[in-house]
Amino acid sequence: MSAPAEEKSSFVINGKSWSGAVHPLKRLLDTIREDVGLTGTKEGCGEGECGACTVFLDGQVVMSCMVPTCQAEGKQITTIEGLAENGRLHPMQESFAQEGGAQCGICTPGMIMAAVAYARDPGSAEDMREALAGNLCRCTGYIRIFEAVKKAMAK
């Protein structure tokens, strides 16, 4: 029993290049949190069910707990820390804050990422309920989240 072997890995995260030594099968979630040092992406289940770990990989929504780091090789990753531009909150972040879309906040980064993806391409799902069904929230009953998403999309 010993620690697994590491290999060089590189990708672009929130617009910045990153490279470092990680085991190729290490979960992207852990690489982002432990190696890149961005802890906004959360772990709620580790099995692809809760959406707390949602990030964009080349613009697509993925559950980063289900993605081995080697799959991100050379790709673009966006996390919650990459949404604000020039110190200005993304409209989705703003409306989550205003409408009470975040209570305990642990689902919030993942929820906001899923909501941003839906707002960008509303045709991607039947409706908002469908689009966010992969992101669990235990606090809100989703009502304020829907309000927040609607408000951000109306902006």
Binding site: M1, S2, A3, P4, R33, L38, T39, G40, T41, K42, E43, G44, C45, G46, E47, E49, C50, A52, T79, I80, E81, L83, A84, L89, Q93, E94, F96, A97, Q98, E99, G100, G101, A102, Q103, C104, G105, I106, C107, T108, P109, I112, M128, R129, E130, L132, A133, G134, N135, L136, C137, R138, C139, T140, G141, Y142, I143, R144, I145, F146
Partner: protein, 749 residues
């Protein structure tokens, strides 16, 4: 914007300022426990029992693992007492010789590499001599296998008003039923997590995701034989609690601290993965209840008898108080001359059941409300009308003898809920629909209920809470309270209360991190008490702080601008160095409670509510699907309408889960389906529109009239949903939750 039927006359109270911590939460910069980095941190793991009851014969460590790199702790390494200090002293931090439930902690491991620590858990082998286990309430009460006291009963309560026995023979109709509510996992999305640094020289410091830092503090002192000031517990941003982080965090906190102590003071982090969290931590107490009720032909409730038994699991933990709250909510908001309530919590070889939003009340409200629905069906009276004929009014006595000093307003709440949900139209239309449709059956039904805010009458007196305020260097005010922000918005509502009382901007109020070395013990963050009880302590502290500033001459007594307040604070600090003002709990006048007879004012204030559930059952899949939900309540003054509505909506969704989806499958007393793939939470697709309405009847002893509301929404949905299912199935009552497709199939075949 949620509907609040009031005109706020205040600058901050009743408004919706941004939450104190929302910026950090929406940007991902909020630091939850697992986001914190500690230099040289070890990863702690817990080796748990795999039998429900047995003597430990041997613990062996499989060869091929570099055990010399690990820190290993067993019960023998405990420097102080191996007991979790809660209500009773029966639970060990680590099983010593005997295990009493599956998933009980036996051995602790720590290693610098997380993966190594994880893998090593399976390389520790514990051999048992298995002993007979008690796995159900019935087995516990059967008496053959006694593992607690003389009769396996942790606690019993008895409430008696009048004499129901004398009524049964005389009544027109007597209706009996038996009901079951299953366990439920809190399922906060952030699992349990702690970091500890502990050594004989430095004492013990713990950071963690928790509701009650002082509970952890109390638990750690005897474990290490340390005095108050050598143990420090610091709250970190907590990703949900719902009761699951009330008493439980003491265990992992103790475990991490024991590992750190043995590892020479290196920090040790323990974060459960989802499976361990679901397998090992507390759940809502399952409860079996018999209800017997006597009525006149026209629906007057003559007598009520409720007999409820909760499964407490293998250690007492909080079962006695959960049972108490269940007992005190078992009779509902109805006037009845003859009531008897008997309840008990019993031992089984299950992991201890624990605190969960509602704290016993949902378990007794469910059977009573569903029983009234059943009675209405049998009596041929509309369910709302049956309730209306029996509602508690001003001057009536509850089963505990408490006289209602003011009108509860329940009838108005009921009409409002019926109005908003179009209840009367729907009952007619759905009956019609159900006659012709075989595929989709529709149901609509209501529940009426109350929730007592704060600890029971004497409980708040024993807690003896203290909260305070201090002036900061830049002339603002900082709240000093042990009450934690777990998503319910307490940092925000407390700040609004203080800002209102001091007449300063909300932005000038800060909240100190709940840290036992810094804040006073304002009591636990539980029981819907944080806003009402602690909020009032803070309001009084604010009023006293203002008085001190005025008396010192720094502040004019007749109003001030923010900058005048700042200047006054600066002047005061320059002269006296610091200003901290504390206030202590005082029981409201004319609230007295007798623990011996269980009579008096059980709670100083009640929130009242009527909820309406509207659903459909697809008779091809037997899945019940919520369509609409209306929640009307009176909770005193609403401090922050958006936060308050969010609490209600979230509670309703959690209760929908309990009623329709969340099935804890037990085997050997422990949860089997410990994954989100097979324990189903309501998603966006399962949660209906939840429409929330508040009435405000300001409560004179709450801050600006506020009462508690956090637990209320857990109480009413399940009985309303079960009654709506009954409606959809043609008045066929399914007396148990969760109502899964297979439950419906069973009931109709």
């Amino acid at each position: 914007m949620p509907d609040v039927l009031t005109t706020p006359a205040y600058r901050w109270v009743g408004h919706n300022p941004p939450r104190k911590e929302s910026l950090e939460k929406v940007t991902g910069s909020a630091k939850y426990l697992d986001d914190l980095k500690f230099e040289g941190c070890l990863h702690g793991k817990t080796v748990r029992s795999t039998v429900p009851h047995g003597r430990i014969k041997k613990i062996s460590f499989e060869p091929g693992v570099p055990w010399d790199e690990f820190t290993v702790v067993t019960a023998r390494d405990i420097p102080g007492k191996n007991v979790v200090s809660l209500i009773e002293l029966d639970q060990p931090f680590l099983a010593d010789g005997l295990v009493r439930h599956m998933a009980e902690p036996v051995v602790l491991l720590a290693h610098p590499d997380k993966g190594m620590a994880e893998k090593a858990v399976k390389r520790v082998h514990i051999e048992y001599e298995e002993l007979p286990a008690i796995l159900t309430i019935e087995e516990s009460l059967a008496g053959g296998n006694i593992q607690y006291g003389k009769d396996n009963i942790f606690k019993k309560y008895h409430i008696q008003k009048g004499d129901p026995e004398s009524v049964w023979p005389k009544a027109d109709v007597v209706i009996e039923g038996e009901y079951w509510t299953g366990p439920q996992e809190q399922l906060y999305i952030e699992p349990q997590g702690v970091v500890a640094v502990a050594s004989p020289t430095g004492g013990v410091t713990v950071w963690g995701s928790m509701q009650c830092p002082f509970y952890v503090h109390k638990g750690l002192k005897p474990l290490f034989n340390l005095p108050d000031d050598r143990v420090r517990v610091i709250y970190t941003v907590t990703g949900g609690g719902f009761g699951g982080k009330e008493e439980y965090p003491t265990l992992p906190a103790g475990h991490a601290a024991l590992l750190s102590w043995k590892a020479g003071g290196r920090p040790v982090k323990i974060v459960y993965d989802r499976m361990e969290d679901m397998w090992a931590t507390t759940k809502r107490h399952p409860c079996k209840t018999r209800v017997k009720a006597a009525f006149t032909k026209d629906g007057k409730l003559l007598a009520l008898k409720v007999d409820a038994t909760m499964d407490g699991g293998a250690y007492v933990t909080l079962s006695t108080v959960v049972l108490s709250r269940g007992t005190l909510h078992a009779f509902g908001p109805y006037a009845c001359d003859h009531v008897v309530i008997d309840t008990r919590a019993v031992f089984t070889n299950s992991p201890p059941y624990g605190a969960f939003r509602g704290f016993g009340a949902p378990q007794t409200i469910f059977p009573l409300e569903l029983h009234l629905h059943r009675a209405a069906c049998e009596l041929g009276i509309e369910p709302h009308e049956l309730r209306r004929r029996n509602l508690l009014h001003q001057g009536d006595r509850m089963a505990t003898g408490q006289v209602m000093q003011e009108e509860t307003g329940l009838e108005g709440l009921m009409w409002k809920a019926m109005d908003e949900s179009k209840y009367l139209e729907k009952t007619k239309a759905y009956r019609e629909h159900n006659r012709s449709s075989t595929r989709i059956k529709k149901g609509v039904a209501l529940a009426l209920f109350f929730h007592g805010a704060g600890f029971t009458g004497s409980g708040e007196v024993f807690l003896d809470s203290k909260a305070g305020l201090e002036l900061t260097r830049d002339g603002a005010v900082r709240i000093l309270s042990a009450n934690t922000e777990i998503g319910q918005g307490s940092f925000t509502t407390h700040s609004q209360i203080v800002a209102e009382e001091l007449r300063i901007p909300y932005e000038m109020v800060e909240v100190a991190v709940p840290d036992t070395a810094v804040v006073p013990n304002s009591g636990p963050t539980v029981a819907s008490r944080t806003c009402m009880v602690v909020g009032e302590l803070l309001r009084r502290a604010a009023s006293d702080l203002k008085e001190v500033l005025v008396k010192s001459g720094a502040l004019a007594g007749n109003g001030h601008t923010p900058s005048e307040f700042r200047a006054a604070a600066g002047k005061y600090l320059q002269r006296f160095g610091e200003l901290k003002v504390y206030s202590k709990y005082k029981p409201p006048p004319d609230v007295s409670w007798d623990d011996k007879t269980y009579t008096g004012s059980a709670y100083a204030a009640y929130a009242w509510a009527c909820y309406v559930a509207d659903l459909e059952i697809d008779m091809a899949t037997y899945q019940a699907q919520m369509k609409d939900f209306v929640a009307v309540q009176e909770v005193g003054r609403v401090i922050h309408p958006v936060i308050a509505a969010g609490q209600i909506e979230g509670g309703v969704a959690q209760a929908i889960g309990w009623a329709l989806y969340e099935d804890v499958a037990l085997k050997q007393g422990v949860m089997q389906n410990c994954q989100l793939t097979n324990y189903i939470l309501p998603t966006t697709a399962d949660t209906p529109p939840i429409r929330v309405f508040f009435y405000e009847n300001p409560y004179q002893n709450g801050p600006f009239g506020a009462k508690g509301l956090g637990e209320l929404p857990m109480d009413g949905p399940a009985p309303a949903i079960a009654a709506a299912v009954a409606f959809a199935l043609g008045d066929r009552i399914i007396p148990r939750i969760p109502i899964l497709p297979e439950t419906i199939l069973d009931a109709i075949s």
